[in-house]
């Protein structure tokens, strides 16, 4: 039995609920049984592996290992976000810069402000949650930007035609896309505790923490997330939008659609 009271037997017991999900799929002929089983197996293997890695890093208590792990998380997060933001040309480097900046600035700030000690047991989980959220928000914002630029290519070209720079022509779209990327986290922050208990708080309570301590910890994480996610989404877009334009402030690819206009 571990400190949380959850051993392998308890994990195996929870598989009954995976069986329920498979049963629902079979009942509705949704053909998701294979995917559910694979997802459950992957979660087990990945989390177990990560558990050993984190255990190793905690035992060494050396910040160099933390930086290594953060670099891997940023790398995987970048590739995942790149895959999701397929509509944006050349999104890899902007996303890498965005996630790196989000992770480094957040970790640096919470250590500098004395919120957490610079120890692996604080930095690793915070990095994980920050990078995960920054990845999702950056990918959503970039994808929206790509869709907006294609859908509003006539408006962009009409603005360029007045002597606007690419930045000036894209600014209203960047603003709208930033909102799309950030609104889910803002809503989550607004409704936290009312609609759902956030993960860190749940984890702390389950691990036996005092509820007031668990709430304070959760607040620190939520506030850190707001900063990191905003910074990452803005950085990704600020670096990626230029890929839609040439250096002569011409709209790439979508300009062809602009020439082939449909009458209303």
């Amino acid at each position: 039995m571990s400190a949380t009271g959850v051993g392998l037997a308890e994990v195996a017991g929870a598989l009954a609920l995976v069986a329920v999900a498979i049963g629902v799929s079979l009942w509705e002929r949704a053909r998701l049984e294979g995917e559910i089983a694979a997802a459950a197996a992957r979660a087990f293997v990945q989390l177990t592996a990560v558990g050993f890695v984190i255990d190793f890093i905690f035992e060494r208590d050396d910040l160099a290992y933390v930086f290594g792990l953060v670099a891997v998380m940023v790398g995987v997060g970048t590739l995942t976000a790149r895959h999701r933001a397929r509509s944006v040309p050349g999104a890899l480097w902007p996303l890498l810069a965005a996630l790196t900046l989000g992770a480094v600035s957040t970790l640096g700030l919470i250590v500098a402000l004395g919120v957490f000690e610079p120890e692996p047991r604080f930095l690793v989980p915070v990095a994980g949650i920050v990078i995960g959220n920054a990845m999702t928000a950056s990918a959503v914002a970039l994808n929206r930007l790509g869709d907006e630029i294609r859908a509003r290519s006539r408006e962009i070209e009409a603005t360029l035609a007045l002597g606007a720079t690419a930045t000036e022509a894209a600014r209203p779209l960047i603003r709208a896309s930033l909102r799309t990327g950030l609104v889910p986290l803002i809503d989550q922050t607004k409704t936290t505790g009312l609609v759902a208990f956030p993960g860190i708080m749940v984890g702390s309570l389950l691990a036996g923490a005092d509820p007031v301590d668990a709430v304070r910890l959760q607040l620190v994480i939520l506030y850190a997330l707001l900063g990191a996610v905003s910074l990452s989404a803005l950085t990704a877009m600020a670096l990626a939008y230029r890929n839609f334009f040439t250096s002569a402030h011409q709209l790439r690819e979508a300009r062809e659609e602009a020439g082939r206009q449909q009458l209303p």
């Binding site: 360029l160 035609a161 002597g163 062809e256």
Partner: protein, 214 residues
């Protein structure tokens, strides 16, 4: 001679739409006429560098357009697209946009007047205008920059006959103004003859005929 196209080849969507086109567009009112897909819109976009040719060169006032400051070029050679594409906000915000981007004061009332619109339009929501009114606001937005040349891409194709006639009257008024030239693109050869001194006919990406309108 404001514009000269020298052996221009340009593609759109992977297809060659202008193929070895050489043409001159003089001062005053010019028209490029031709069927859909003849390369008219692409030709117009080459003139203020919204696109660049794959081969050949476009000259404006004796110099290759690529040698000029592209933003200055677009403020001097101003394009009005085929369909209205106004920004969110009032008519006044839209008309003032070009001068504001250039760091200049805008005379909104004057620009609206030149486009045949009453000054009362300035505070109205641009999204609530008819297509014909929006197209005139697009014209006013370009005129607010006090351009030397207007590029008009099928400016009446989305309009009903009454709105088309009104825009044509406005263009005839503009034609009479010294110091302002325009290049009009249309599939309607009769409209070209009504509104322009010179009519170029494009066919399959090449010049089919050049004529001076009566």
């Amino acid at each position: 001679m404001p514009f000269e196209l020298r052996d221009v080849r340009a593609r759109r969507g992977g297809r060659i739409v202008l193929d070895g086109l050489s043409a001159r567009l003089p001062d005053g009112a010019s028209c490029v006429a031709g069927p859909s897909g003849a390369g008219k819109s692409t030709l117009l976009r080459l003139l203020n560098r919204l696109v660049d040719p794959d081969a050949g060169a476009v000259h404006y006032l004796g110099a290759d357009v690529r040698e000029r400051d592209v933003l200055e070029l677009r403020r001097e050679v101003c394009l009005v697209p085929q369909l209205p594409a106004l920004r969110d906000g009032t008519v006044g915000d839209n008309v003032a946009l070009g001068p504001r981007l250039a760091g200049r004061e805008a005379d909104v009332e004057r620009a609206l007047g030149l486009a045949g619109l009453d000054p009362d339009f300035a505070p109205r929501d641009a999204g609530r205008l008819s297509v014909g009114e929006q197209q005139r606001v697009m014209l006013a937005r370009a005129l607010a920059l006090e351009p030397r040349v207007l590029l008009l891409d099928e400016p009446t194709s989305a309009l009903d006959p009454a709105a088309r006639e009104a825009v044509e009257r406005t263009l005839l008024d503009l034609r009479a103004r010294p110091g302002l030239s325009y290049v009009l693109v249309t599939h309607d050869a009769d409209q070209g003859r009504r509104l322009a001194d010179t009519v170029l006919r494009l066919q399959d990406g090449r010049l089919a005929a050049e004529a001076s309108a009566p």
